[in-house]
């Protein structure tokens, strides 16, 4: 493999990993609050179509990015209202959100199919980007890549270093205890779901404005599900989400290259790898009791109805 090719592969891995990373970080915050939102795929695809459409209509990819974030956030509020205010089943509601998102985005995006898209331009940092091998990877990327790295640091810092993060973890561990202490469980969960929605929207926007600047129906192609698996894979720890996202991003890219080289690994096997890896990790983490107790949100998926 030539040097240039390695450089190019690194770049494409980053582009493939970024949407997974952003969507998974958002879902990590949601799950840390004790809510399981299976609608990541739906919110992501809504972000992708809205971002693409807004960029087309305004002529600015940045407006598109903003619109993608807002679309994901608004869509997540539908989920929040149903599961938090009306205490519906989170699994069923999340699944419907995904199905609704896929259908709705197809309808909204129908007239944009085949339209050439606007691409968010990369930010090249002069000098540093000339460093061999990693220069382009670290310093000549699209803005959303930088946002994803910043977001990882912020999420980690928020969860483990701030009081609000402690409250978030407390709500995810036991909403009953949190309520008894006077913590406003529902409000915190609304905010967490909103953040998760915004992240999923941004991740979708990255797909239609950076990764492949065009609109194709179902263009998220299961990335929302991978993001969900990633959160468990990472055992709810932000740094492991980065490792997982890049690992799964690399698998996606390896899939393309394997096909191009005519290597006979069935692509279905490679697509299944993220989920297989998640199962292996689940088995591994369950053997460390303290680690599991510390990081698994105990009230994940349980509806909370305060006593009146």
């Amino acid at each position: 493999m030539s040097f240039e090719m390695a450089e190019a592969i690194l770049l494409t891995i980053a582009t493939a990993a970024t949407p997974l990373l952003i969507a998974a970080l958002g879902e990590l915050v949601v799950e840390r609050s004790g809510v399981l939102n299976l609608g990541v795929e739906g919110m992501m695809v809504m972000g992708a179509v809205t971002g693409f459409a807004a960029a087309q209509l305004s002529g600015s990819p940045w407006i598109g990015v903003l619109a993608a974030i807002v679309a994901g956030a608004v869509f997540s509020m539908l989920f929040a209202f149903l599961t938090l205010s009306l205490a519906t089943n989170q699994v069923a509601t999340g699944l419907s959100l995904t199905i609704l998102g896929l259908g709705l985005s197809g309808m909204i995006g129908e007239s944009f199919i085949g339209t050439p898209g606007l691409k968010l331009q990369s930010w090249v940092i002069p000098g540093l980007s000339e460093i061999p091998l990693v220069g382009k990877f670290l310093f000549a990327q699209d803005p959303i890549f930088y946002i994803s790295i910043l977001l990882t640091i912020c999420v980690w810092w928020f969860i483990f270093r701030t009081r609000a993060g402690l409250t978030l973890r407390a709500v995810g561990d036991s909403h009953g205890s949190a309520h008894a202490l006077g913590i406003r469980v529902i409000r915190i969960r609304y905010l967490a779901v909103l953040f998760g929605g915004a992240c999923a929207g941004l991740a979708g926007g990255q797909l239609s404005l950076v990764y492949t600047p065009q609109w194709v129906e179902n263009m998220t192609a299961g990335r929302g599900w991978i993001a969900l698996a990633l959160v468990v894979f990472a055992s709810w720890l932000p740094w492991r989400v980065v490792a997982g996202a890049y690992l799964f991003g690399a698998v996606t890219i390896a899939q393309f290259h394997a096909q191009a080289q005519g290597i006979a690994i069935p692509s279905q096997f490679l697509s299944a790898l993220p989920y297989l890896a998640t199962i292996v990790v689940l088995v591994l983490i369950s053997s460390n009791r303290r680690m599991t107790m510390r990081n698994t949100p105990a009230s994940l998926g349980k509806p909370f109805v305060p006593e009146r």
Binding site: L166, S177, M293, R294
Partner: protein, 532 residues
Amino acid sequence: MTDAGGKKVASETLLKVEGITKIFGTLKANDGVDFDIVPGEIHALLGENGAGKSTLVKMLFGSLQPDGGTIYWRDSAVSITNPMQARALGIGMVFQHFSLFESLSAAENIALSLGGDVTLSKIAAEATRVSHEYGLPIHPDRLVGELSVGERQRIEIVRCLLQQPELIILDEPTSVLTPQEAEKLFATLDKLRAEGKSILYISHRLEEVQRICDRATVLRHGKVVGHCNPRDETAKSLAAMMVGEDIHSIERSEISAGPSSEEPVMVIDGLSQPASSPFSVPLSGITLSVRPGEVVGIAGIAGNGQSEFFEAISGERLQDKGSRVMIRGNEAGRLGPSGRRRIGAAFSPEERLGHGAVPSFSLSENLLLSRHASDRKAYIGPLGTIRRGALTKTLERIVKALDVRKSGYDPAASSLSGGNLQKVILGREFDRSPALLIANQPTWGVDAGAAARIRQEIIDLARNGAGVLVISQDLDELLEIADRIAVMSDGELSETVPAETVTRETLGLMMGGATPEKHHEERVATMEAGQE
């Protein structure tokens, strides 16, 4: 006014409650409740399960809103709309079902209830200081999920003390403690009273209330039925106030046939098993037999292997060979719980919700869960369908026999109070007339009236020819109902001794000086060292 120590007490009232009413649907949980607390007193709130004690204190702490009445704090009317506000006034609360977060450390748990931006290390240092001052040792860095119930309660109390409260509400604090831990708690409460703090002490344990409380308010069916000085009352008169009728003293006839005259219903022979997790106790060389007609009691401080012993004899954990546990002459060591039930055994576990009963299932469904194997023909039709009629008929019989109070015809198990659910769980076994009953903590957290009834039923079952094994931490209970008593200590069981030859004190000595917690920590340390 003077308190029991003869010390002057400020004449102002700290908290006064007038006509507090709370209605849930058609149930008046609190109906015009009046009482007051002065500084430097321990005030007892007495009542049976379901009398409205917890509802009342939830309103004082702002977790529930009253439907009528007024709360006065230092002589001015206040409305307490949330726990934050209660804390700001100076009211602290130690919950019955702890409000702790298992995945967080002790220090993080404490931080959550303190306002402001104090760093964790400062909170840990402060918590350690307070915990030593009041004799409540805690480890700030340990995860709550790894701690014993006693240690969890200490964290709750330390958390409460750090908020500098004037009034501390303790909801059934000793129901989860060993006698030794309870002693430590009483010493702490004495110290707090001496500092002029007030304590509202909720309990249905009369001896405790008589020992440490200065005044008592008694609730029954949501109404105040009396205020008194518990030291002027007898346990019997207090109980009569709580229950509204005299509690029947237990009748215990002598065993008709000599204990050695019949074949034992259960023989345990050299039962040993390793610990299944760092938090459980290994059993070693347990040998015991239970004969028809007698009640055998197992005493011991919590965490000395009682739960593991119950799991082993109920078949939740199988033995290495069948002959380790013989039930009515059958090798039962390799049989699961249903197999053991089929040969005449019955079991009642310690934990009512989640182990003894499925909380969201109705009572009749829970009935089926323990009897589908032993009474298959009665409750299951030829095509595997459930005979609902037969189930509800049995339920009616149990409800009538044990006077179970419930809301509705066949409500969910979780809707019953602890005492009433315990009656159903034991009642479904009594109703089978089993040859052998194993009951773990049969009256734990159950009010006096229900406990007396359950104990009487246990004795009657034995006198009608069944063998009964009762595991309990309540020595008075064992002395009241058991014919022979053995002590479990660190996974080993002593020889049994006839109940009439022992007293509380001799049993206490048999339990040994070592506290289970110390052993527990040693065990965890060894396990951790082994992993590294």
